[in-house]
Amino acid sequence: MFKTALAQLRFAASVGLGRPFAQWSLDHLIDAIRETKREFGALDVEDGGSQLGGPVLDEETRHELHLRRFRTQAVRAAQETSYYAHLFEKLSLKPDRLRFDDIAHLPATPKEALREDPGAFVRRTTTPCFGTTTTGTTNKPTSVYFSSHEMRTYIALATIGLLSTNRIDESDIVQMSTSSRATLGNTCFAGACAHIGALVYLAGLVEPLRALALLAEESSIPGKKPKVSYMSIYASYLGELVECGLQHGYTPDDFGLERIAVGGELVSEGLKERALKLFGPVEVYDDYGMTETWPFQGQSCSEGHLHFDPTSGMLEVIDPETGTPAGSGQAGTLVVTPLPPYREVTILLRYDTQDMVRQIEGPLTCNLRNLQATSPLLGKLRLATRHEDGWTFARDVLEALEGADEVPLPARYGFWAVPGGVAVEVVVRRSAEPRVRRAIETRLEERGVPVRELNLVEHRGELQRPLPLRCDLKESAFGVPADSGGDVFGLTLKQAAGREDL
């Protein structure tokens, strides 16, 4: 306990003063949390979380902290990266003299700049050893580089996060149903599971029936739960599993899932509700994170807001039309600066994520009210449409569609601006039935979508402008062995023969 107190002080020094994390303190905290859980059964989430989740800051203190760390990061960027050296030279700005108000006047770093030349953002004095790319669902993949110290730190922080929120313990079996190319998230998450002692495997994005078979498979591993108890998955792929599982007669009794972490895409309330029909009463987490701004993450609260830890990054919500901070209740794009000590190698100042959110109106009353918050993600800016009545975001359409049983999961749809509103197209089960059209129109109107054209189709190939979904990043497999007998990965030979990826 005395060493734990020292480790906590060392951890607090890093979080509070921006000094690099000491691996010994992170490792000791992990051991201490595990020992605490063994002794007491579980950690008090509120209490443990507040001790390790960073300090609660008022706005003035947050501004001071952000200014100090932004300057540190800006000095490093100007001295050691080619992109920001040119930028500061062009603007004739001294990064160590920046005032808080100056930060908002620095041009945001566009995604395209990072995508085209990721090396221009890497500090010369660091040793990058881990390169990762985004899955490129919305465009060409973007590369980001990290040091081994950063990776070890991220894994340790992920471990502490999972342990202190009681999400995973050593008896869990964890299935990662994510793309094997999502190396940053997969490495950190699998590393954290290994630290905890949970059994983790990467199932990947395989044919849904295979994934369901893995989830339903009984195991007899000593000390582990009998079935997969935790799954990390993309929203659209979860939708596929739900649709496929219900179609094939799976019920909650077939699974042992307790928790599902859904991410990478917008997560609708409809999807969460329909997932419960297949998997039973599971906890669903839909936190926010992205490769480029890692490990700055948004945590969902009891009232559905996204909350951000002010010590790991600086968050701005910028109106995409004016380039100024979005006001209360207004939509804007998340502009993020990952701060030290969380980022050392790839420096990004005011990175424009293109992820749209809305500023919260009124005071917060939720369980995370002390942390800066926004609305849940609304979708990518380039997928949103601007019309006379304002914006229509992917979330508006998705929530309406996935809440309707007539729409198979994941909702496959597109929408675009037309005179007077938007046109929406979507795959539905029975497109010819007027009842289906009425139900979807009503739901869209309830979500404030000014539908002027609604095109219902029964096959995704008929969509004109479908939004990309991560579940389509499927991984193929070898063919079915001729002498394999009854089944392959839970598929009968007959079923398997009908699959393109087998």
Binding site: M1, T4, L29, A32, T36, F40, L43, G48, L52
Partner: protein, 289 residues
């Protein structure tokens, strides 16, 4: 014939052990949310126990008294916290006790019955709080037995072979918060150190957590019996030297631990203990009483 001081000191000793037992079962102290008291902490405690007497002998008395006052204030606040549950009331109680101890020392003198009464009460309350915090922080019976075993040897050296403990008690006897339960003057004086009291109180708690109610009650009876027997013998035999109580208590703790481990197997974690023996307020919440 036993003197009054024997009965008074034994009464305070028994109060510490019994109150500790009651407090442990009825109140939850604010323990650190992360971390468990383990063998590493016991090793750290042993180091501190060895170094502190020299530090207290080297520092000016007013500074030692100030250190004791600060420590007592925080301990008493934490003892009161789960009982009173009102911040200002905790402060009132803690500050009143601190004030009473200092006042009795200054006004009535360090050898007065009033000061002994107040100081003994403050020490007993502090022992109750600290031992509950240790036990509720997950300390294992094994680790307390190890501490007892090591202190048995240390006490023999520091009290019998060296003049360290006698010097220390004499040196600190005149200040407020003197770390001894004390009664009487001259040849009637009887003293038991706070260290002995802490071990005698925490061991039954750790044994109860680890092996159940019987093990805890047995530990209480054995500790109090051993202390009473030793003190009665000293008084009846008119021995007026410092006796290393832990040299007797320590091996008894080790033996008890060995017996219960053999009988019950591995000791329980706090989680298993509370599942088997919910606290009174937990039982009430779950409708079991």
């Amino acid at each position: 014939m036993l003197m009054t001081s024997f009965y008074v000191v034994m009464a305070f000793t028994a109060s510490a052990v019994l109150l500790g037992w009651v407090y442990f079962r009825n109140y939850q102290t604010a323990r650190p949310s992360i971390g468990v008291l383990n063998l590493g902490d016991v090793a750290f405690m042993i180091g501190v126990i060895i170094l502190l007497p020299y530090l207290y002998l080297a520092l000016p008395l007013w500074l030692v008294a100030a250190i004791f006052a600060m420590a007592m204030l925080s301990i008493l606040y934490f003892v009161a916290e789960p009982v009173l549950r009102i911040r200002w009331a905790n402060w009132v109680v803690a500050l009143s006790l601190i004030g009473a101890d200092v006042g009795a020392n200054l006004y009535f003198g360090a050898t007065s019955a009033t000061f002994f009464l107040v100081n003994n009460t403050v020490l007993v309350l502090a022992v109750v709080g600290v031992t509950s915090l240790w036990a509720q922080s997950g300390i294992k019976a094994r680790d307390v037995a190890v501490l007892g075993g090591v202190l048995a040897l240390y006490d023999l050296i520091a009290t019998s072979l060296l003049p360290l403990m006698t010097d220390l008690i004499t040196h600190l006897a005149s200040i407020p918060f003197a770390p001894v339960v004390n009664w009487g003057v001259s040849h009637e004086r009887f003293v038991i150190g706070i260290g002995d009291l802490l071990l005698a109180t925490v061991f039954p708690l750790a044994m109860r957590k680890a092996f159940g109610r019987s093990a805890g009650i047995a530990a209480m009876a054995i500790n109090l019996g051993a202390i009473a027997g030793t003190m009665a013998f000293l008084q009846l035999a008119k021995v007026e030297v410092g006796v290393p109580l832990m040299t007797g208590l320590g091996p008894l703790m080790v033996l008890q631990y060995a017996y219960w481990v053999r009988r019950r197997g591995q000791e329980r974690t706090t989680w298993e203990y509370l599942r088997a023996e919910p606290l009174d307020h937990q039982r009430a919440a779950s409708g079991r009483i």
